[in-house]
């Protein structure tokens, strides 16, 4: 079993909640609004005990503050591509994260929304997958087990976020931590290999280090976590909340 696909719940999970908080507090700190602080990416790896199974008490999630996501910036997208060995956008290329330009014709407000796998609590892709290749780890990360994916693409039909891609060509020079297989489905793994090593997802880290620090990563189940507090205080929203899938990716100012 590869580090990407993992042997389900036995997989080593990310750093413990506390160590994450510690690291986050130690590094990137972002002012959301007066008096509200978001703890953003924490580049230095947190000491992580290897071999620990994914913890069902944790639910990893993301918060994206669109006010801090400037037009034209695609650092998160390129960081994802570099981290996961993806190629630049093309008709048949995978896109694990993309920026969607959203224009409200009534107010003329424009936003650029980074959209990736939303790591739903009730993922449609997992429900429909005939072989169980689409699965949700104990800590809420939705993954594809490339060893049993048959490439039927039913998960792509089912995902409301168009978050899944199909590997249309044989892959060369892959990143060892992120093996990809032709003829199988794939999507944002929340950089599970980094999480398991006590690090942040690549997009979060890149955004904090080189852009506005619009992304926060953390444990949604921990009421004291920065992400949970910010979501609660600012009433963050999710995309297509009406579908009831309970995504782990939240947005501010959507």
């Amino acid at each position: 079993m590869t580090s990407e696909t993992g042997s389900r719940d036995e997989r080593a999970s990310g750093a413990s909640r506390r160590s994450f908080l510690k690291s986050a507090a130690g590094v990137g700190v972002t002012m959301l609004a007066p008096g509200v602080v978001l703890y953003a990416a924490a580049p230095p790896a947190v000491a992580q005990r290897a071999g620990r199974p994914a913890d069902s008490k944790i639910r990893w999630g993301l918060l994206v503050d669109l006010n801090k996501c400037p037009p034209g910036c695609d650092l998160c997208v390129t960081a994802c591509a570099d981290e996961n060995g993806l190629h630049r956008p093309g008709a048949h290329e995978s896109q694990w994260i993309r920026k969607v330009n959203v224009h409200d014709p009534k107010t003329d407000v424009r936003r650029e929304v980074p959209v990736m796998c939303q790591h739903c609590a009730m993922p449609a892709c997992v429900d429909v997958c005939p072989t169980g290749a689409s699965f949700k780890r104990a800590d809420g990360i939705v993954l594809v087990d490339r060893h049993i994916c048959i490439g039927c693409r039913y998960c792509m039909m089912a995902c409301p976020y168009q978050a899944r891609s199909f590997v249309h060509e044989p892959q060369e020079n892959q990143r060892p931590e992120v093996p990809r297989g032709v003829g199988t489905a794939e999507a944002c793994s929340l950089c599970v290999h980094r999480i398991d090593a006590g690090r942040m997802p690549a997009c979060v880290e890149a955004c904090a280090a080189r852009a506005g620090g619009a992304m926060v990563f953390g444990d949604l189940n921990d009421p004291s976590s920065a992400i949970a507090k910010a979501i609660g205080t600012h009433r963050a929203t999710t995309i297509r909340a009406d579908l009831g899938l309970d995504p782990a990716v939240h947005y501010l100012s959507l």
């Binding site: 993309r98 005939p130 693409r153």
Partner: protein
């Protein structure tokens, strides 16, 4: 009680030529699958927006037709219409062959067709797709038993119960097939419970149409009689089933028009969807429904075999158009991530997806259809599926028989 007399078909030169042709096409389909497996689906017209294309249109077509092809057998053994009985065996054989053809396309199109065993051994109980795999395997087994009971001497008394099981099973099968799309909450074009009855009606109609074409071709090709009254009755039944399908399609679209989140996709499909709108109105409604319904119900057309054949062929063309609009058109319309907003991205957001079937996909489709034809012909050659004469086994009255030439409409 007099029985209809059946015999294997002859392996004349026409038979051998057809077998060779279909064999070649099947080999082409297998090669095409290998080609896609080797180079990846980049050589197909499908992409990350339109993930199911022409192979799925034909696979769905063959699978739903498989269920409908059993109409004739059900009429004989479930609804007691004994005049249909002479054709019941062929109906069962065709049902098996159609399902096998449809499944072969689905499997050969997989990104990893070699992992078929994985699909058979890893079962996700929540997935309607998994359930379908069981329904298909079960259908093959049940129809095989049903055929055996029909053909074995002295087991007639079990045919009724086997027929009933097969009938109920095929209703479940088409419900599940329709639900493959109907359970997709993400897609405004599908997500509706009416997909199940729509697919049931569609399967009954398309299976009936395919059966009519096959039975006319077989009888004409082998010079066997075909009872015209029965043929006419089947054509009328086809018209009724097509009307039922059209009814469900109309209800589906009208319901969607009342749902604000589905208005945009309905507008796309019904008004400004280009090829999809044309296929829907001209292909499905006009050519595939109104015309064959008219032909099937018109007494004058009912006397003419070419007209009956035309009705069946048009229904098949219309059914394919309908499935294309449902499956491909439903994906071409972009997903609604941000209702009420104008969206764009490098990943097709907010854009109508483009799809052009590629040669490997078309060859794959031809291969699957050829498998159906090969299995049907092989079955008819091997075992006595086709009647030599038409006898109503209930009354013992010989039905009005015609020669092969007449059957061909000559």
């Amino acid at each position: 009680m007099p029985r209809a007399h059946y015999r294997e078909i002859e392996a004349d030169s026409g038979f051998v030529t057809l077998m060779l042709l279909f064999g070649l096409a099947l080999a082409g389909g297998l090669l095409s699958s290998l080609y896609m497996r080797h180079y990846g689906h980049v050589v197909s017209g499908m992409g990350n927006q339109i993930v199911w294309g022409i192979p799925h249109v034909f696979a769905f077509f063959l699978i739903v037709s498989a269920s409908g092809a059993l109409n004739v057998a059900s009429m004989a053994s479930v609804f007691g219409r004994t005049t249909y009985k002479p054709l019941a065996r062929l109906s069962g054989l065709l049902a098996i062959a159609l399902l096998a053809g449809g499944l072969s396309i689905l499997v050969l199109d997989l990104g990893r067709p070699e992992r078929l065993t994985v699909a058979m051994t890893n079962f996700n109980f929540k997935s309607i797709f998994s359930w379908n795999i069981n329904f298909y395997v079960g259908f093959l087994a049940i129809v095989a038993v049903y055929l055996f009971l029909q053909m074995a001497r002295g087991l007639d008394r079990y045919v009724g119960i086997a027929g009933l099981v097969a009938f109920l099973w095929r209703l479940a099968l088409t419900t599940a097939t329709g639900s493959v799309l109907g359970f997709l909450a993400a897609r405004q074009a599908y997500d509706a419970a009416i997909m199940a009855p729509l697919f049931i009606a569609m399967s009954l109609a398309l299976g009936q149409a395919v059966f009519l074409v096959v039975v006319m071709a077989v009888c004409a090709g082998t010079g066997r009689p075909l009872d015209h009254a029965l043929l006419h009755r089947m054509a009328r039944l086809l018209a009724i089933l097509l009307t039922a399908t059209l009814y469900f399609a109309v209800v589906q679209h009208i319901t969607n028009l009342y749902s604000p989140k589905r208005l945009a996709v309905e507008r796309f499909l019904l008004v400004d969807g280009g090829i999809y709108t044309a296929l829907l109105w001209i292909g499905y409604v006009g050519i595939g429904s109104l015309l064959p319904i008219g032909l099937g119900l018109c007494p004058a057309a009912g006397r003419s075999r070419p007209m009956i054949l035309a009705a069946a062929v048009l229904a098949i063309i219309g059914g394919l158009c309908h499935l294309y609009v449902i499956i491909v058109g439903g994906q071409a319309f972009p997903l609604l991530l941000f209702p009420g907003m104008e969206v764009s991205s490098s990943f097709g957001d907010g854009m109508i997806g483009s799809y052009r079937p590629s040669l490997p996909e078309l060859v794959l489709v031809a291969g699957g259809m050829s498998l159906t034809m090969l299995l049907t012909m092989f079955g008819m050659r091997l075992l006595p599926f086709v009647p030599m004469s038409f006898v109503d086994e209930a009354t013992g009255a010989p039905a009005h028989a015609v020669t092969g030439e007449q059957a061909a409409g000559r």
